[in-house]
Symmetry: C4
Subunit: 209 residues, 4 copies
């Protein structure tokens, strides 16, 4: 049964686009209309909105993150021929984390200086990016790419994925610093590892060419 | 009129995908950002999130259930040629229950140890799975399958549906046990009945081959 | 400019399906998880859910109404070749009312015995059905139907639309009775008018055949 | 990499339609079911709904605005061949503002007489319309239009976009008046500038014909 299992791309893409559209729109639900004692005072409303500035900032930042994930996902999926069972599980897990993202964004918008909020947001972002990289690696290994995709394109995509992971680990360092200096070392080491992997790919790509 | 009634698959699938995308995303709305006395205390936020652990766990569990329903539905519908009126009613009822699912999930996440929450969640899941099985049975009876679907595939799908029902009734036993021992017997009997039906199908499939 | 204005069906249908999917799912947001003093008491939760029975009933009733609107709309649109400006405005107004429907449903679920809730729900349903009938009438007048749709089908569809309006006005009588006896006469008169229009259509259809 | 970057229209359109469908439906979430001391009193409910009249009015107004943006966007995108990176960024920023729109609408519905609410709503609408105009200008400059689109159509579309911007600035004058008389001059000047640009386009169109 598992051998013949496959899923048409079209329906999975509709689900993915739907989930992203809703996750993006749900972000805004966290920005609450402030309650005012005097509803006609524009100063009171402006200052109330000023207090919401971090929530509004978090909205636009998180929207941009979701947009990046969506474009990234799309650029991987357009190279795929079909989804077998492992790729399907990988994509649905990715969607579960994307749906969870508005909660992490709300947490960070509400408590922008709180370390615990970052400890939800940053690892969640990390998991989403690692899942994307894993997704494409699986697709290459299981030979589910479209024939029209050249080996060079596959190499370039994998390099880009690995660079994305590196950027993520480097960007996590300020958060790691607030937890413990040991985590900084871990993040730095992982960041450098992914840079090295990405360069190794680039080299092997040239060697094979 | 009823004779000539039919519905294009494409539009119904868009509605189904839309409903699933939203139901999946709405699950996360139940996880509320905790209110903290001291917004900068990461310990306070972590412990507040710890108290939400059952809600977060219920989110990922319910997301996985919805993902299973979605994949299951997709694999049945891809074998269907068109929807006549009974299949349409069956699918819309299925959607009504899927839309109701986030409420049941919120109930279970909020009161994980409460029997009444299980008495909403488990029968709802059961109804959804039974409706799927009924949907395919109706499609076979009314000869609405695609011609490219072989008799073997139909048999295999029906066996899988019946096995799904069996798994459901077996999995309901712990909940039944908390209500009354008589319900355990009912669940066990129904579970065994569906296993027997699934094996009978398998046998008749081989006999006809 | 207005002469050459047209809108592709595909995009409008995606918007319609999206709006319906969300309106259906948003209905369930009105069913709140009850707050319990003792979270482990299943009796307390069951009795709290019992108090929500009218909300849950209203959910399934309103879901069925939206499903009927959706199927109805789909059966009209599949006969249309393209949307010009008046049809587009008609469809977008229809969508505005469909999006408003969850609020009316929430009002009725919360105050099922309150006349004012019915005075929002019933006229809204009426407007939606009248707009559908107007939509098809406009499409016929402006010759925007697909060529493959026979005159008989057009007649049958219009009869069905007019019968739908008649059913609506007859079904409004109990609500009208609670306002004033004069409104009963209005509803009855309009109901009979639409029945007569529908029969006149049927007759002219046979005469022309 | 940027040179070969492109995005299929189909997926971006699904995301856009999804986001608009949700933004439209989310508008209604701001209209809260009123809490009544006596749930059976229809007078109490009607008067409570009367107090919500501005929220309900804002709902229909904002729905109409979103519908206009959606139709506008669709009419621009149907002339585009594909999305390169700048167009993609432009469209995603547009979506971020569209998703933010329900918050601005809620603010205006809640505090219709408050200047600060207008100072969120009006500039947001302005940004959305300016982004649309910029989007099409970019598409023309980067030669991403479909070949089937004639130079006359491009001219007419650009004139329409510029007229839209002019209407926006003229319509902002009452709001500007409430801030400071200097802003009235700015709005008027920008409105006249866009009218002049639109007429210049019309003239150059005739000259080149």
């Amino acid at each position: 049964m598992a051998k013949t299992f496959h899923m048409h791309k079209a329906r999975l893409e509709t689900l993915v686009d739907g989930v992203f559209a809703i996750a993006m729109t749900i972000l805004v639900l966290e920005i609450k209309v402030p309650e005012l004692a005097d509803g006609r005072s524009s100063d009171a409303l402006l200052s109330a909105l000023g207090h919401h500035a971090s929530v509004i900032g978090a909205y636009f930042f998180s929207f941009a993150m979701l947009a990046v994930f969506w474009v990234w996902h799309h650029r991987l999926v357009e190279k795929i021929r079909l989804f077998d069972f492992p790729l399907l599980v990988c994509t649905l897990t990715f969607l579960a984390l994307v749906c969870f993202f508005p909660f992490a964004a709300a947490l960070l918008g509400r408590y922008p200086l709180n370390l615990a909020a970052l400890l939800v947001y940053v690892p969640l972002t990390g998991l989403i990016i690692l899942l994307q990289t894993l997704f494409f690696k699986l697709a290459v290994q299981r030979q589910l790419l479209l024939e029209s995709v050249s080996a060079d394109e596959v190499q370039a995509t994998q390099r880009r994925n690995l660079r994305g992971c590196a950027v993520l680990f480097i960007a996590s360092i300020p958060t790691a610093l607030r937890v413990h200096v040991a985590w900084v070392a871990v993040c730095l080491a992982l960041g450098l590892l992914f840079i090295w992997l990405s360069r190794a790919k680039a080299h092997s790509g040239k060697a094979s060419a």
